[in-house]
Symmetry: D3
Subunit: 242 residues, 6 copies
């Protein structure tokens, strides 16, 4: 079995990062590969970025499927291109949002997301409504650090703890979802800090949730419904310069 | 005052079509222009097409704003790129979905959409949920004709009447919204046919609703909220070949 | 084309006020008239007032329709008599609530209303639920000034700014709707003040939204659905003294 | 203890009818009176009728309260004037809708209303949404007989059985609410017929539910909340001819 | 007519308490009896307790029905065993939650529950969602006293007033429901204290609401729907030691 | 790592069945055990059965946790005792409903459940509402075969196909969830039959979904939130005969 992670942003550094994070969650008997987009954006933190990053993500998903992958993880909490990819390939495709939020719903009553910047909060809320999950997911908070600024892990963890603690104390959240795949690696430590400062509250890492979800779907032998994700009719489609 | 319509699909024929449809709805004292995408897809009838058509739409929106337009209509019922465009430009930007559905909500209790193909039904339903309007918009039906097949107006009108009639008779809809900007020109006649075969039910054309919405917002002196649509931070963003 | 505004409260002063406000929003090529109720209440700020003001409003709507008006605006945020009027006349009829809230939904994620007194807050919330819009309209606040006390515009504007600022800062609202047609004239200045004290947030005036909505519907050639608003059967109906 | 029923429509025949129906539900140790409106409409089967019947209902409610009644039932399923009356008097006031639907919610999963004419269906649905109960009350059907035509009880019962049976068989309803106080007296027999033609399904009579509700509230010593129903400020209020 | 109250917890003291509370709400012409469980738990303040208390409650309900009772009140706000009991007996069965919350919905816009411990808050919220009432019941607060600690009535009343006052002042609640049948006797005094410290807000006692509900249903001649509560098929069912 | 499946019903035959089904889904490197209840019911197909089966399930869950299990699957679609068990043990506990429905939500827009008897349909719908998932899970259908009658696999599969096909064709479902753990083994074949008679629609087996969910949670290092599932306070709790 082989899984593919798509690094949806520019920069060799991020390719390596996604490789490291993915490796941390994939079992030893499963092969994996990381494919990076050939063009697009440096980081995804607006609807504008989501639009620009999606076409090259789809190119990578299609290439991975053509090469026989068994499942694809688009490494971004905004799930960019995920619905479109499900129309085009037969293997399961997930981003970070859906697997982590659905997993969280089984662990406590209210799910709280802590993400990077105010810019993406309306999009995350819209995504929660689009998935019909607003009744259970009332809280979206931010650490107010851009994706490319998540390098200071100590600062990030402190702010994550502040926001997650505040969400739990304000009775907004019983489970915390990290709202950016760039926060990978922080879930376990945040979970420990929360347990130290109050009752145990589970924390979900979107990369871990996504990889686990693909393994879960593979074992169940299921993939995208073809009454929701119909294969797109053939037609002329061009790129700049074509 | 000057408004811009974006033709989001390939082909000089469609550029002319959008020019004609737009002209039919714009008052004589308002200038207008149509800008066509330079690359992308031949028609938009899947999530996949929506992803591919959005980047060139954004290029045209930004260019129109730079040239001093007063409002932009992206001529597609899927509102592709609209949220992203609102982040990038100060003038109002609308697609076909939001203005027609919101207008319809003031005319009757339940809004029914009649669109082209089953492929786009899940996306339209997801959009209805995303906008928090599911309680009032329970019905999405199809004429089962692809966008490029809408050339036979007589066949299209007959199927529109069948589906709209069925939605009204089944108590699913009190107002009909045409779910594709390629159906422009059919609203008035469909409204007449429905009145002839039962009680009067208003029919909304997405192009007319969108142009009217832009005029409405302009007169009110309002544009997109900057707490929902925050300007995207500067960063490296590339296109294929860059 | 001719539009009619109904002044739903007693007093020649208010008749003149509605004339002034309406004139500010109607384009030069559209005729307009204001009709005042012949009896009823001095101001509308309770369910009780809404009941008492509605019959004379209906009398004026019917008279205006008989005289050939092309659309009617009932100048009150509570939309008193509006649904009933739609059953009785063929031209479009709107109050202040529906056009301003539906317009607001296209400008940002969450709509916040700022109205006059606590007395009308439950009614506005009930109206939001009745329209199926609760998921997007979580905030109703008050300036705590009765309708007849809105004469001190400087005080009113200060309190409007306080409440609107608070709603935006508490993440309850991305768009502000003025919840009383007696607040007309304040929208533009409140919008400026909000932009000066934080991110740009659009502010909607209910009179402007209503007049614009009627123009919008007229251009689209649509009016109330006859499956929602069925013409009332003929029967004996009397007034006091009949 | 004394309860008041308001007959909200014109005609001495109806006054006697309300007296008879009320008497059937009031215990022997409770006094009762019926007060009829002095003007208004012959029957209530549109939003238009609801507007016109409400002011004289309020006059009767206030008079009854001044005379020391302990609770008021406005004998109409549309609850006309009920919210307004709660603002004005301290004793509980109910119509037919709220008590019967809330009672029904304790007897089965889904509540189905069967009412008179298609004209009132949108209003009943709007009322269900206004009360936040749409998730449990999906079905509103009609016997298609006007209020004044409910005199042929045998025809009415047959059509009630047809519609209630259909609602239950279509899995839309587990409890039936009679959606017009003019259907009084039919509940017990309809319940028997339903039990004879399928599983036992409770049927609620709005008059019985309302009278019982007032007795229930009286025993509990509770009345309308003053944070929802605030007393209307004093002001000039006139009637035609004043 | 005879009603049965089930004391769902261990201890002769509680049997006497339920007898006293029930007697306070039952009219003189109605007989009543209290039946206590033969085994189970000392108090019900977790999902775990709810599971363990339910089987002996069902035994008592069945025995009471066999003895010809006309209605059963399970004296616990969690409604333990109530849905199951409705499947097994023909007379109405209620707990404390459903009658008090449904009654409250007729008295004001938003219902707030004040209960004992944080342990039961998620269950009460889940019950609100299960009943489809979340839109109207946003607030669940605690006095933070265990059921067995409710003996100091003065302390309990003070904390009830603090929490109810806070809920009303924060605009979360217009009606207060006492969220534990062990708080019986406090409703009237809490209602007085709230009226003394702010606007009148009704307070509902779950025992009073439940007894009154049974009387209400009996007068209406209705009981549980057999399309929601189907009689369980016969089969082998054993207890420990069988 | 070791997982425990609880057989919640009487009979050695079912113990063996659960062992077989569980073994089919557990990876070779994970140990597993099946524990059967010592008393209770022969099958679970009513709220009544759910009440009676839950106490012995909790006994087995606690015993398994004391013996060091790493996760518990209660083999019943009704999730009996699951919330209570989460309060009492630290390892994850799941039934069949939550994992299969949450997994299904990632595969298509609308989830349809096909279960055994009409008796459990209201409970499943209530569970869907309790989980806040009604907007996405509109369809619950039955094969109309009792649990103990599921022995004729060919008949069961035919009826499953009929109901699932009907749900998909009626546009009620894009993903099918088998609503009884006694239907185990049917998912793969039903999925094939559906693909043969229409578009590919995934089918979820509740046992497979539950086992996979426990593996997923274990890899993520998360368990139940202690702000939703608080440990029950110590107190006297007795069984029959104690």
């Amino acid at each position: 079995m082989r899984l593919t992670a798509i690094c949806p942003i520019l920069g060799v550094g991020f390719h390596a990062e996604v490789e490291k994070e993915t490796a941390a969650w994939i079992p030893p008997d499963v092969e994996s590969e990381v494919r990076s987009v050939g063009y697009g954006v440096e980081s995804i933190e607006s609807e504008y970025d989501e639009v620009l990053c999606a076409p090259p993500i789809l190119e990578q998903v299609k290439a991975a499927a053509a090469d026989g992958t068994d499942g694809v993880f688009v490494s971004c909490f905004a799930d960019p291109g995920v619905a479109a990819a499900r129309e085009r390939v037969d293997v399961p495709v997930v981003g970070g949002f859906e697997p982590s939020v659905l997993t969280a719903l089984s662990l406590g009553e209210r799910v709280g997301v802590v993400t990077v910047l105010p810019n993406v909060v309306p999009t995350i809320r819209a995504s929660i409504r689009r998935h019909g999950l607003a009744e259970r997911c009332p809280s979206v908070r931010v650490v107010d650090i851009p994706v490319l600024g998540l390098v200071d892990r100590s600062e990030m963890l402190q702010r994550l703890h502040e926001q997650a603690r505040a969400a739990v104390d304000a009775d907004e959240a019983d489970v915390i979802v990290l709202g950016c795949t760039g926060m990978s690696g922080a879930a376990a430590e945040l979970q420990e800090r929360l347990a130290a400062s109050g009752p145990s509250v589970p924390v979900l890492d979107p990369t871990g949730a996504a990889i686990g979800w693909l393994l879960h779907l593979a074992r169940l032998g299921v993939s995208s419904s073809r009454t929701t994700y119909l294969p797109p009719p053939d037609k002329k489609r061009t790129r700049p310069g074509d």
